[in-house]
């Protein structure tokens, strides 16, 4: 089975993606990750205004069969969370790179993104 890995984003080994959008970085989990988890039933996210630290936990995602921590691709302040996931966590399965995004971070240092995996690196990891 092959998974989509858009090359306009950066990745963590723990399967989160990070997309630079103007002044913020949008974060979600990859297609591979949602497939591994199976039906997502619950997402726990930080409040807006909280700070997160690169490669540290920022939340939890649960599928029917598994509980998994979520890790921040960059350090910074959470500017917005995707509240749609509270009522429709299945969006993570349906559109992991789109409507299933989780939060946006105002990064302390935009260079954080250059320290994490490229799409090619990530593809090699999940191959």
């Amino acid at each position: 089975m092959s998974f989509e890995t858009p090359d306009d984003r950066r990745y963590l080994e723990s399967h989160e993606w990070a997309e630079e959008r103007d002044d913020v970085v949008r974060v979600g989990i990859t297609d591979f990750a949602q497939d591994e988890l199976g039906d997502v039933v619950f997402v726990e996210l930080p409040d807006e205004g909280e700070t997160v630290t690169q490669e540290e936990e920022f939340g939890v995602i649960e599928s029917i069969k598994a509980v998994s921590d979520l890790y921040a691709p960059v350090s910074g302040e959470v500017t917005v969370i995707n509240e749609a996931l509270f009522d429709a966590p299945e969006l993570v399965n349906d559109a992991p790179f789109g409507e299933g995004w989780m939060l946006e971070i105002d990064p302390d240092d935009p260079d954080d993104l250059n320290e994490i995996l490229t799409a090619d690196d990530y593809d090699d990891q999940i191959a």
């Binding site: 089975m1 199976g38 039906d39 039933v41 619950f42 726990e44 939890v60 649960e62 599928s63 029917i64 069969k65 509980v67 509270f86 399965n93």
Partner: protein, 365 residues
């Protein structure tokens, strides 16, 4: 220790299954999605490879005595083609395992039984039977046939129609917990109207080498152990090693809500202890829980009262695909066991409001 592989491992892999270790077996946990497999069983029909379940065969002049003295229910009530849910208890009345016992047609004029212990327990159970047979000087043959038989469950409201189409004869007359020999595509199998989902359906015990024919002939959705787990939790059915465990979670059948498997008028290992408990009453009981707050109860999470004092532990939990609510099973003191009682489940350090619910969570057959 290498994992045991079910005879259908290759077919499942080709079908795109994900696998998990369960009771020492490498079993399919999910084919497409747990949710869609679950829904197929609740509304239509689905099939499960449950070849990890054990099969022990007992026959001989003292077969009935041996079965009677090692299981809690009354096997003398079983006519040929009947089956019963039962437990195997120790001297203290603690459940070692739960099982379904089938009375097969007599062999060489002697009563003959096939019973199904849980995955990974067949060898210990076989040893237990042999040891007691020798100790009690009974004349019975006990064979572990786990590696000779595959087991396939076909479950759901449309299971009778599907199975009726492919077997020689009809299953319409088969009542709940009745069983018989039949043939499907020329393959001899033992078919029983039993299951572990809360739905109507059948379990088929078939020769290992013929499992593929049976599996492919039953043309319906392939379901994994993931859906089997969500279905059985909704139906309030216990999972050995999780909802009870002689080491980590010792429970009597009364605590576990399966007192109906205990017949105190029979003589069996654990009978005296259970008689005393039956008289005195239990201190804790298995209950159903739904979370009112957002979150999912999981095995091992604390249950607290409204003053946040720990009163119990969640033994099984999931997001119910049918009810679209977080549900769980767990043991609490009897004063908290009445449906409607407000409790809390501690999810990652946070107390989530929960309510005691009657079991099963859904309507079952």
């Amino acid at each position: 220790m290498p994992l045991q592989t079910p005879p259908l491992r290759g077919i499942h892999a080709d079908r795109g299954a994900k696998f998990t270790e369960f009771g020492g077996w490498d079993m399919p946990v999910e084919f497409d999605s747990i949710r869609s497999e679950h829904e197929a069983v609740r509304t239509d029909v689905g099939k499960f490879d449950v070849s990890h379940m054990g099969q022990l065969h007992v026959t001989g002049p003292d077969a009935t005595t041996l079965m009677q003295r090692l299981t809690s229910n009354d096997v003398t009530r079983l006519d040929v083609g009947a089956s019963q849910y039962s437990t195997i208890t120790n001297e203290d009345g603690i459940i070692i395992d739960d099982t379904v016992i089938y009375r097969l047609p007599d062999e060489d004029g002697e009563a003959t039984y096939l019973f199904v212990p849980n995955a990974g327990t067949d060898e210990a159970t076989h040893e237990r039977w042999i040891a007691h047979r020798n100790e009690w000087e009974l004349d019975a043959t006990v064979d572990n046939r786990t590696d000779e038989y595959a087991m396939v469950a076909v479950q759901g409201p449309n299971a009778p129609a599907l199975v009726d189409d492919v077997i020689d004869g009809s299953v319409r007359e088969l009542d709940r917990f009745e069983a018989q020999y039949t043939t499907i595509e020329g393959v001899n199998c033992w078919i029983a109207r039993t299951g572990y989902t809360g739905e109507d359906g059948f379990e088929l015990i078939v020769p290992w080498s013929e499992a593929e024919t049976i599996w492919l002939t039953l043309d319906c959705r392939s379901c994994g152990l993931g859906a089997r787990d969500t279905l059985r939790i909704e139906a309030g059915l216990l999972l050995a090693g999780q909802d009870f465990d002689p080491e980590s979670n010792p429970r009597t059948p009364y605590e576990a809500g399966i007192g109906f498997t205990v017949d105190l008028d029979t003589e069996f290992v654990g009978r005296d202890a259970l008689g005393a408990i039956d008289e005195a009453g239990v201190e804790e009981r298995l209950v159903g829980l739904t979370l009112i707050d957002r979150g999912v109860p999981r095995h091992g999470y604390d249950i607290t009262n409204t003053e946040s004092r720990v009163v119990g532990t969640v033994t099984s939990g999931t997001m119910s695909p049918t009810l679209e609510k977080p549900i769980g099973l767990g043991y609490v003191p009897v004063e908290y066991a009445d449906p409607g009682t407000t409790l809390q489940v501690v999810v990652r350090g946070q107390s989530k409001k929960a309510r005691v619910e009657p079991l099963p969570f859904i309507e079952t057959v």
